[in-house]
Amino acid sequence: METVKTTPTYEAKPGKLQTFRTSAWLGWMIESNWTDPFIFAVYSIIRPILTAAILIVMYLVIRGGDFSSADFVNLYIGNAFYILVGAAIQRVSFGIIDDREHYRTLKYIFIAPLQVPVYLIGRSVASILVSCFSVLFTLGFGILFLKMPIVLAEVKWGLFVAAFFLGMAVMMCMGLILGGWTLIIKNNPWSLGDSMGAGLLIFSGAVFPLSVLPTPLQWIGNALPISYWLALIRRALVPEIGRAYPMYTNLSDLQLLLILLAFTLLYAVLAVVVYKRFDIIARERGNIDMVSNY
């Protein structure tokens, strides 16, 4: 007769994959089940479209309605994909605040036998997925209503997929670094991720080439992986127009991809070291179950 094992094996800790899978499911539930699917879809679509519309109106006011020009296409694609930068950077760190101050579960996560960074990354995946839909919708809006010359048959899919996933990985590492910092901030920590996402726009080359900036600010842009990622995304989606964008014109697609890979490895190491350091400080200061709102 088959015996049913009912007692848990205390020695077996959940693996990273299990932690990731469970936290991703939890993240999806938190992200989506506050309302019905229709309102959720409307919410996911309206915000990115209207944010993109700010730039469209700025362009319209100055340049008129020439939406097929290379300048506008590069600006629009950069702006659309920058949604993901904000999402990846912000959501990893926001998971800490949400769990600590809203759900009050962070202390339980910390005493559970799992790796908190893996949990945080898993928890952010759902909102990053939602942001992916926002990007798709924003691009679709551009193609349909602004007649932007994005032709699916001309897209370099291999380059796009490789760049996309490397970019997401490196931005999640940046999010983890911020997440660590969030642990020890006492005032308005929820605005850190959002502000950082918005503040980095200037150094990303998303909406204007880095050459517009003064030289020292260009150095900062070149030291961040986002600008290489966006350059690759443009070159993959609209090869001709993307190549014409005045950034890294002397670098081939492969060179850009290798630079992005190097950044990903560097930021992965940095994220582990920095997060660990902040984690220790937060435990020492008793910040794990702190409430920061006043």
Partner: protein, 280 residues
């Protein structure tokens, strides 16, 4: 012998003012205790402003538009404060368990909201001033103030109407659960677009701009632009005098609306048992 402490019980205006000061205190003093907020609450939004300036530079826009961005970015601070530290504040207070204490206390929620508003106005004004001053220093924005008193009046009325709106919205947020965060998040972008934070609101057609005028910042910013950049007065949506009159009306409507809706929502929340629930 037992010590007897004489307790003075304030009421009326004294209690109202005491509450306002009491609620503003943690916002003003709390911000002094951890200077990290200066980085992500002032420096990073400042960078966002720089980003928008360089977008206009890349588009080779006239220099006045740089001034529009600097001004718009300073005013953005107030809208963010209204959304996250006024409108949704009663929701956060409920989450923290403070809302029930507020309702139980002998003071009015209106006074508590006034306290939040004045405390928030303090730190937000610092942020707005830093953005304005640094923006001017970096990008040499040329302001020509045609009437200081009109400018002062426009700013004060805009703030009164805006914080009145925030107080009115906060009564609505009292009934929200997890959708509060999403709702506040959703309100951010449309207002930034239609109120014309980075471009003149006259870029839209008349009726869109008129509808956007329900948000006091739309007319407030339009009037301020006309008063400090006279060379672009033709881009103004309405004459400044008319905008002032509308701002007065909005102030009265929003403050009055806040008073009535707060009382109604408080009663409704008590009736539905939402003062202490944390369904999210």
């Amino acid at each position: 012998m037992a010590l007897q402490t004489k307790v003075t019980r304030n009421s009326g205006v004294r209690l109202f003012l005491q509450t306002v000061i009491g609620r503003a205190y943690p916002r003003v003093i709390g911000s002094q205790r951890d200077p990290a907020w200066l980085f992500f609450d002032i420096f990073l939004p400042f960078l966002t402003m720089v980003g928008y300036v360089y977008i206009y530079r890349a588009l080779k826009a006239p220099e006045e538009y740089i001034g529009f961005v600097v001004l718009g970015s300073a005013m953005t601070a107030y809208w963010i404060n209204i959304l996250w530290s006024m409108s949704s504040q009663l929701f956060w207070e409920k989450e923290n368990g403070n809302l029930a204490l507020y309702v139980m206390s002998p003071t009015s929620l209106m006074a508590i909201l006034f306290g939040m508003a004045s405390g928030g106005l303090f730190s937000t004004t610092i942020r707005a001033l830093v953005i304005l001053v640094l923006g001017n220093l970096l990008f040499h924005v040329n302001y020509i103030i045609t009437s200081f008193w009109a400018l002062f009046l426009v700013f004060v009325l805009t703030m009164v109407a805006l914080y009145g709106l925030g107080m009115m919205l906060s009564s609505l947020f009292m009934l929200f659960n997890r959708e509060a965060f999403h709702f506040a998040n959703l309100l951010e972008a449309p207002v930034m677009l239609f109120s014309g934070f980075y471009f003149p609101v006259s870029a839209f057609n008349f009726w869109v701009a008129a509808a956007a005028s329900i948000i006091p910042l739309t007319l407030g910013m339009d009037a301020i632009r006309q008063l400090v950049f006279p060379s672009t007065a033709q881009l103004g949506f309405l004459p400044v005098k008319l905008e002032l009159i509308i701002l007065v009306i909005l102030s009265v409507v929003f403050l009055g609306g806040a008073f009535f809706s707060l009382r109604r929502m408080e009663r409704l929340a008590i009736k539905q048992g939402r003062i202490t629930d944390r369904l999210g």
